[in-house]
């Protein structure tokens, strides 16, 4: 399954816990309050586990976790 689809599914079902919510690729997850520090950590743990990558705490910032597109780009960059 596509990286973005997997990430989006996890964010909706496990992080936001609302599978019916509509989020766009550029929905600002932090500014909209969907991603707290706890949820960001939980998302990082999922991403590391799911994609077998390592995410340094220094990479967990507003730029890399701004929206679905930026998170996907972070992971795809590591997978490349």
């Amino acid at each position: 399954m596509e990286v973005k689809t997997l990430i989006k599914g996890h964010i909706l079902n496990e992080i936001i816990q609302n599978g019916d919510l509509q989020i766009a690729d550029d929905t600002p997850l932090i500014d909209e309050g969907y991603l707290t520090s706890l949820q960001a950590v939980e998302l990082v743990m999922f991403l590391e586990d799911q994609f077998e990558v390592e995410i340094d705490p220094i990479e967990v910032d507003e730029e890399n976790f701004r929206d679905l597109t930026s998170i996907t780009q972070l992971i795809e960059g590591k997978l490349a």
Partner: protein, 349 residues
Amino acid sequence: MAPHDLEGVLTLYQEVFGHAYAERFEARFSWAHGDNLYPDDSPKWVVADGDRIVGFLAAMPLPYTIAGRRVIAHTTCDYMVHPDFRFHGIKLMKQFFSECENCVTCDDIEATKKVTEWLGARTVTPMVTYLKVLNGRALAASARLAGLPEIVYASGTALLKLADKALMAGSAGIHVENVGDFDSSFDEFSDRTAKNIPATVTRDRDFLRWRYGERSPHSSREIAVATSPDGSMQGYAITYMSSEKRPTGYVLDLQAERGPHEIRATRSLLAHAARTLRARGAVTMKYHAVDAPDSTTESHMKRMGFLARNRTNRVLMVKFSDPALQEIAEQPRNWNYRYGDAEVSHSLA
């Protein structure tokens, strides 16, 4: 954090928790971060949205003795973020871990614990709680506690006092009395006892005078000292009456030197604490600590009439830059760590 940011910090706190809590917070913040043992090593950071402070973290330095070495470790003592900016808590925690070499923390907030662990701290163990009923009839009026025999609820103070005499017997030869302040004997006691404990807060006179001093949140504490027949200090206990809805006495710290007098000193100190707290109207008495292989193990506490409650959500976590210290600090059995040592106790009213 610049000095002028303090106003923004207080404004944020008041916005989230209300005016009454904010007043107490201001006094406690000043004591914890301006009046502590190492004021020049008390880093603080803020997150701002324009001119408005939306988050802060103030790290408190404390002295520890780990494997005989005295080190300073910081705790994320005061840390909060406005609900609309909760992602940015990570920024503050990352700053803490990048600037503070060592961390010892005991927190009860799940989000904080998770972020702390993610940034490299290791969970050592949760605190355990022991509870003793001092007035059963008064307790019955407000609560039913799991695991407590019904007869306790029918027992007034007289009957429970009698039971305590039997339960806490075996303290012959130990004298306990209240003292007004921490004198040099506490330094000697701290030096003597730290030799036998792999990991502990360094509770010398300076630490105790700050932690339980005039400006601390628990300045109305009582200090009881136990001595053996030759006058040598065998231990001490620090108790505090909380102004909670149901009057509750807390044993914030309890120390007894490991050795031939240890069990008797602990019994004597706890018996004294029960008497004085009961006399002050406490309905129950609580003792929270990290389990230690000393005279406050569960079996000892139960024999003295304490009920062991569930392990709490207050969890000790550590991160030391020196791997040798980290290895020692990660072992629960190495620690002597009491409720009064933990930043989570500072907000006990």
